[in-house]
Structure formats: C-alpha cells, structure tokens
Subunit: 180 residues, 2 copies
C-alpha cells in the first residue's frame, strides 16, 4: 500500500461506496460495515452514521480513532458477512480471513485486502443525529490491485457495482479543489 496525498483522500468517500471501519478497544480489533457516509470537507473531514447499536461504537467513542477501509466488489461477501455478525462474539479478522496491518497514527488496523485505507481521528460526535465526524490523518492506496470497482449499498439487500467512468474535468475545472 502506497501513501496517497491527503488532498485526494476525499475522492475515496465522495462516490459513496460501502466502507469497512476498524477499531481497537485496547484489547481487540473489530470491523463494522458502514454504508452511511458523507464528505464534509476536502481536508478531508467526513461523517459516518453509527451509534450504540454497533458493537464497535464503544471503542470508536473511547479511543476516538478508527480506520476507514474501502473494499472492492471481490470482497462483497466478506463485507456483508461483517455487517451481519457482531464483534461481541466474533473475531471478524479471523472469521473473514482479513489481515490487520498497523498504521502510523492510530491503533485501529488497516485492512491489507482493501483498495484503500484512511487512518482517522474522531473530531466530533453529533449525538442527536448519531453522526461521527472523522478527519483522515493518513491515506493509503493499493496501486497494484487489479480489481478497483467499489460497491454501493442500496439498502434493500442489493448492491450496485461501479460501472464506467465519465470524464467531465474540463467542465468542472472551477470546482475541483487544488491538488486533486
């Protein structure tokens, strides 16, 4: 995994892929599947929706750290499996054959098998809406990976895979932040 410029990291979240969020509670690593995410700023700051209903939430709130990993379509059954069992009674890294990799800034692990990983600090929690605001402090991209298509949860048990990419960089020039 190569370091990716932080100025580009929001482009991993903006298209709206399902993500995996890892935490470390002082004893154990855990992973949750999150589909509810939103960019808040290019710096990059972004939000995820989570709360007490997710076992990982306690570790996220206490440690104020996590890693947001971007899986691709070949990992879909792991992503769904992770989202439908609990870290309360399951070691998800072992069960789903994923490899935790230590990052530089947070204790939560990167996921080696993912396309990209963002080491994140919790900068705020908006309790009344269960919004956790994250700032990425380091970003990594697996540039050698062939499968780069992410998946978008519809919410009804189906998932849309990335199709073709359309280039509108010329039309968008006035809106693209410096450095992208």
């Amino acid at each position: 995994m190569r370091r990716l410029r932080l100025g580009r990291a929001f482009t991993l979240i903006e298209p709206g892929p399902v993500v995996l969020v890892t935490t470390h509670d002082g004893r154990k690593d855990n992973i949750m599947t999150i589909s509810w995410t939103m960019v808040l700023d290019f710096t990059p700051v972004f939000a995820i929706t989570t709360g007490e209903w997710n076992h990982s939430y306690a570790a996220l709130r206490k440690s104020r750290e996590c890693v947001v990993a971007i899986p691709t379509v070949d990992l879909l059954d792991k992503v769904v499996g992770i989202g439908t069992c609990s870290g309360k009674d399951t070691d998800k890294f072992a069960r789903f054959g994923l490899t935790p990799v230590r990052g530089k800034f947070v204790r939560a692990p990167l996921i080696k098998e993912c396309l990209a990983n963002l080491e994140c600090k919790v900068v705020d929690i908006v309790k009344r809406h269960d919004i956790v605001v994250l700032e990425a402090v380091a970003a990594y991209l697996d540039t050698g990976r062939k499968e780069k298509r992410t998946v978008h949860a519809v919410g009804d048990g189906t998932f849309i895979v990335d199709g073709r990419r359309i280039d509108r960089r010329k039309m968008m020039a006035s809106k693209i932040p410096f450095g992208v």
Copy 2:
C-alpha cells in the same frame, strides 16, 4: 411520476448518487447539485452538506423546505452545468431545459426529468459542520423511465456510472428494515 412508499425512499440516497436540490425563495425556483449526502435513518431522514457558499442555502434555511431529485446518467451534463453556475444570475430551470412540477407538501418544485423526487422538510441544521438534516415527506418515482442508472461524483471531475446490481437479500435479511 408515481408515489413511492416512504419506507423505501432511503434506498434512493443510500447508494450515494449525485442529487439535485431545488428550493423556492418566495419569488424564484433554484437548483443546486449536491454530492455530499448521507442517510441518517430509514424513516427517511438524511443529511446534505451545504452552506453560505451555495446561493440556494439562504432559501433552504429560510423556507426550511426543498426537493431532492435523483438524476440519471443521461442528465449528467445538466447536473454538471447546474453545479457550475449560480442561481444568483441564472434561471437554471430555463437554462437547462428542466420542467418544474409542483409537489403537495413544499413550495420547492419537483424536477420532471429526474428518476425520482423527494419532497423534504429541514428538521435541523448542524451549523458547526454545515450539515442540513432533511426528512422526506413524500417520494415519487418515474416508473416508466428506461434509463435508471445514476452517477456518483468522484470529486476530481470524473463520475462513476452505476454498473450491475448484485443481490444479497438472503444474507442481508436480518438487516433490511421492514417494508423495503
């Protein structure tokens, strides 16, 4: 456009498509392009990130209403065009050949050419993060439309079109809200 059950409306936002948000300021309609959205609850409540930098924000804040419309890939150049000019000096419905349709609950217009439209009330504004929290009060789907593929902004001037859909409804059964 047919009414869509509100219990299904979050499935329009969850995959993360670029959306168009219309407002009415008491005199004029306007449209903005928004890529930063997130579901907050199935009811459906969801968030968009916007603020003073968008001309529509004043109308959104004052009227506490909007329509969120879901465009498809055939509308991409209009979506990009809407996102790169301002309602301050442009009648965007006229300029981009879009048809405003009156809804039932809000003064902001639906967009006839879009795949889906959500009439929304502003339920909260989280000023410190420029998050506007919306609740949809009515949803509409153009069921006769052939082109159903939405587009996902990457943020660098490129857009990913929806590809194929994968069904994991069986694996997801425990997580799918009632009514979807």
